[in-house]
């Protein structure tokens, strides 16, 4: 008997040449980092100049391993001439990007209202 497929971690949809991927789980850590990486890498595969928007609004817990996955994804997308934008990053998760200074390297955006305040 086949084992059940794990629930997807992201929901992706196309809007023109942009892929908007919404992360569906609040916790990103070692237990799902590999699956997340595979799902995200797949979104940019075979696409010339992939334009990827990753919505992290639902994410409240994220570990250093997942930061590494996002760095890796950014480098792959950049190498293909595309761009990766992290959207709706709030609270502790935004704090982590600032702490690690990855907000200087990655395009990390808070929700519009939070960014304005």
């Amino acid at each position: 008997m086949m084992s059940p497929r794990p629930a997807p971690l992201v929901h992706a949809r196309k809007a023109g040449d942009v892929t908007l991927a919404t992360v569906l789980t609040p916790d990103l850590h070692e237990a799902n980092a590999e699956d997340l990486g595979e799902e995200l890498f797949r979104l940019g595969e075979g696409v010339a100049r992939p334009r990827l928007r990753l919505d992290l609004a639902q994410v409240t817990f994220l570990t250093s391993t997942v930061l590494g996955k996002l760095v890796c994804l950014h480098k792959r997308v950049r190498a293909a001439g595309g761009e990766l934008v992290l959207l709706n990053v709030t609270g502790y998760v935004y704090e982590v990007f600032e702490l690690t200074r990855l907000h200087q390297f990655l395009d990390v955006r808070r929700p519009p209202r939070a960014a304005a305040s």
Binding site: H29, E30, A31, T60, F61, T63, S64, T65, L67, G68, K69, V71, C72, K75, Y92, V96, L99, T100, R101, L102, Q104, F105
Partner: protein, 137 residues
């Protein structure tokens, strides 16, 4: 750690880490710790466990990680010890340096130090002690 109420357990893989972290967080919530403190301890203990299991024990499930923790009214103490050769925390490159920003790893210790009030290692470097004070007291 010689404090009354200290819980001790041994884990072998990250699969064991979830229930342990849940127990720590539930104990903190029951003791009235703010949500931010609970999240900070969850992050720091998780990073310590990842370091111990994957780096210290080299991912060998035959090796174990000893974890002890105690949740008191004003402070949470945790200790994570692996069976590895240890490391020198002073030699860990700063992941915030521009030349390290694109590296995939090396941010766990930084997160631990950010989340906790005190992070210390034993001389060998295979045991880390974490301390978090109740932020509202």
């Amino acid at each position: 750690m010689l404090v009354n109420g200290t819980q001790v357990c041994w884990i072998h893989s990250l699969a064991d880490a979830g229930p342990l972290l849940t127990a720590v967080c539930q104990a903190m919530e029951a003791a009235g710790y703010p949500e931010g403190d609970v999240l900070a301890v969850r992050v720091a203990v998780w990073e310590a466990l990842v370091n111990a299991i994957e780096h210290g024990n080299g991912g060998d499930p035959a090796k174990q990680v000893r974890v002890s923790y105690v949740v008191l009214q004003g402070v949470v103490l945790a200790e994570v010890e692996d069976e590895g050769p240890g490391f020198d925390p002073a030699q860990v490159p700063d992941p915030r340096d521009p030349e390290n920003l694109e590296r995939q790893g090396g941010r766990g210790l930084l997160l631990m130090r950010h989340c906790m009030d005190l992070v210390t290692h034993n001389d060998l470097g295979n045991r880390v002690n974490l301390c978090k004070y109740h932020s509202a007291r």
